[in-house]
Symmetry: D2
């Protein structure tokens, strides 16, 4: 075992934010008219949490459209609709992570893209 | 027992929306900078659901301010911060309900304000 | 407009509980091994809320099985998996409601089944 | 920048689980009678997610008791009531993390406790 370092903490914080975002907002009623403002509020809310340097959320409009209930004309936000890119800055370490739908696994996959010293 | 009528359905739908709104959005990170856009997206999201005629959400800024974590400068949306006024139109019946913090009971109380025929 | 009565309140409370249940628990990781205990805790949690006389939750095991991710062997609770029967007792009025997946509408439908005086 | 390694991934996965758990279950109605089963289902649900080696959830009964609404005799699960210890096993690396209420910061703090090779 080695001591816990900045890099560990940056990556840990990045994981926390993706898990939080996912389980807070999945289930929200959504339509093509509200998708823009929902993207923005998810970004704004997550950006409030400690050590977030930037966060960009994009919701798959094609999936939303396919899932719209024909009678009621809305659906619910699902994890697979989410495309999130997030940077944590912990002291001088930046961890860049993402959440993206993986078609092959049919799973909303969270992964680390890059870790760097500023 | 009597048959289920329009009035019953209007009031039932109104209850559904308040319960949904509460448990979907409570826990969202919030600060004085995001309170406006969070109010709007809650309104927009709930307005998508069936039979909603209007919905108005107001979050208590004083409570948010008091709850802000001094180190991290944000808090989480709590039920007691919510003031919601909602109208359901079911066929020709309007049910107006609200969610408001009741200080005496220390409870976010949901109640029916008015039921009327259009 | 007429005054708000017991019947209105019973039906309103019933709606609140279904909306709450839905948006609190949808998104929970689930497998065939945890479906029983998830049903029980949803029942127990909702039964704590005011005026609940009884609540019975059944999760569609076939749907869960179909949705299991082949690599990770779990999925998430979806609204359409839920079959809920709930009774509110408000003073001497009982409102019985349910949440059930409606295949035709492809929608998790909430409806009033019966309203009666005790 | 260095390549992303097992250790990074173990710590990242650990963060995801804590964030998910928190935002999925906060808001659940709870009383002293349901606290045991709620602890178990949170453990069971999170244990389903990829790479979880073990997870132990303890809810602060004293806080629950203090927060019980005197009229309705229940409250809602809050982040500060949660004490969670979780181990991720990613290939041969174990990351042990926790969520615990930090009184000084008045914040439910998530932290890495240990990282080791099996």
């Amino acid at each position: 075992m080695t001591d816990i370092n900045e890099r560990d903490k940056a990556v840990f914080e990045a994981g926390i934010k993706l898990g939080a975002l996912y389980h807070q907002f999945v289930g929200t009623p959504i339509s093509l008219e509200t998708v823009d403002s929902l993207e923005r509020i998810i970004e704004e809310s997550i950006a409030l949490q400690p050590h977030v340097r930037s966060v960009s959320v994009s919701i798959d409009r094609e999936m939303v459209e396919k899932k719209l209930n024909p009678e009621f004309n809305y659906c619910e936000l699902e994890g697979r609709m989410l495309d999130v890119s997030l940077q944590i800055l912990y002291k001088s370490t930046i961890a860049q992570v993402e959440l993206a739908y993986n078609e092959e696994k049919d799973y909303p996959l969270m992964s680390i893209k890059k870790i760097e010293e500023m």
